[in-house]
Amino acid sequence: MHEFALADAVIRSALEFAEQGGIARITKLVVRIGELQTIAREVFDYALKEIMPAAEPRLAEAVIVLETEPARFRCRPCAHEFTLAESGGPKEAEDAEAMHFIPELAHACLRCPRCQSPDFELLEGRGVSIASIEGE
């Protein structure tokens, strides 16, 4: 599962942030999961816990919150704004799988529901990002 690779990136990034900010103990880590990447929360949560170094004191008491961010798009040719559901979503299982690995493949798999263009901006809800880190 490539969720482990993304969870690994989140943990490394949080520890880097703590290192640079002089944070001895991370108390809360809010991770945003974009709807477009269709990452299963329970898989990602499991991956985070598996990846987290057991002996890492900076993360020992961290509360991890996973938030889902809905995907929003804006078509460049016709300026129409739409959601993933309004686009009709991926047509085939392979389309969903492609966007799961590389969310930018939305441009290969989705179309603007108004003008059918593949030329749209992804405004929100792409993939995994760190929304906030709290610590002391």
Binding site: A9, S13, L105
Partner: protein, 241 residues
């Protein structure tokens, strides 16, 4: 905060050397050189990876005849082995669908590939870059600071005009240029050698225009029997002794 930036270095840590194959213009054979170089490394017993970063016009899978299909997942994605080469491309995910990507999309897709691909231990990772000085080339310099570069040129003045800009930019960005190679050489000419000398880069020789190359596309076995491949194998010895 983008967590992927924290993991790129770790994903590539197992690659002893990383070589970007670049050039100013499309159609000068960068992908053939990159693919053949990766194949030459594998045939010399080296552990080699090939990453096609020409996201909107990928072709390395065609050149090597890489099988279609999603890669295996194991705490990330494992580049499939193709004729001895660990291979990764957007086509592993997109298949035959066209992927129209603009600037930020290119950077995001490239970063995602770098963040999730587990290359393991490699003697060399060859990166096939798209022509010119666009997002992928700039991101390669930014995200993989230890990458070295091989610049592909030919005797055409049109090509040299673009390659000259490439060399100037790489030099300005302090990206190490291992050398310039002339591709599709038809007769003895010194233009590419002079171009390399102008920029203080080693001239690494000429790869012949080879009419047997096109029929060999798609088969590593046939590719390996071409005079072009023999010349690339000599280039491999220079770059990776």
């Amino acid at each position: 905060m983008d967590p992927r930036l924290s993991v790129v270095g770790a994903r590539l840590a197992g690659a002893a050397r990383i070589l970007g194959v670049t050039g100013g213009k499309g159609g000068i054979g960068k992908s053939c050189v990159a693919s053949a170089l990766a194949l030459a490394l594998a045939r010399a017993g080296r552990r080699c990876g090939l990453l096609d970063l020409d996201l909107t016009g990928p072709t390395d899978h065609v050149i090597l005849g890489a099988p279609a299909g999603f890669p295996e997942e194991a705490h990330g994605v494992e580049p499939p082995l193709c004729s001895g080469v660990r291979f990764m491309s957007l086509t592993c995910f997109a298949g035959e669908r066209p992927a129209p990507l603009r600037g930020a999309d290119v950077t995001n897709a490239l970063l995602e590939i770098l963040a999730i691909t587990r290359w393991g231990e490699l003697d060399a990772l060859i990166i096939d870059l798209p022509p010119g000085l666009g997002d992928a080339a700039m991101d390669c310099v930014r995200l993989i600071p230890r990458a070295e570069y091989l610049v592909v040129a030919n005797a055409s003045r049109v090509v040299q005009e673009t390659v000259r800009r490439n060399l100037r930019l790489l030099t300005e960005m302090k990206a190490p240029v291992r050398g310039v190679v002339e591709n599709m050489a038809r007769s003895g000419s010194d233009e590419v050698r002079r171009l390399a000398a102008e920029h203080g880069a080693p001239f690494l020789g000429s790869l012949p225009f080879d009419e047997t190359l096109e029929p060999a596309i798609g088969s590593a076995e046939r590719l390996a029997r071409t005079p072009f491949f023999a010349a690339v194998s000599a280039l491999r010895k220079t770059l990776f002794p």
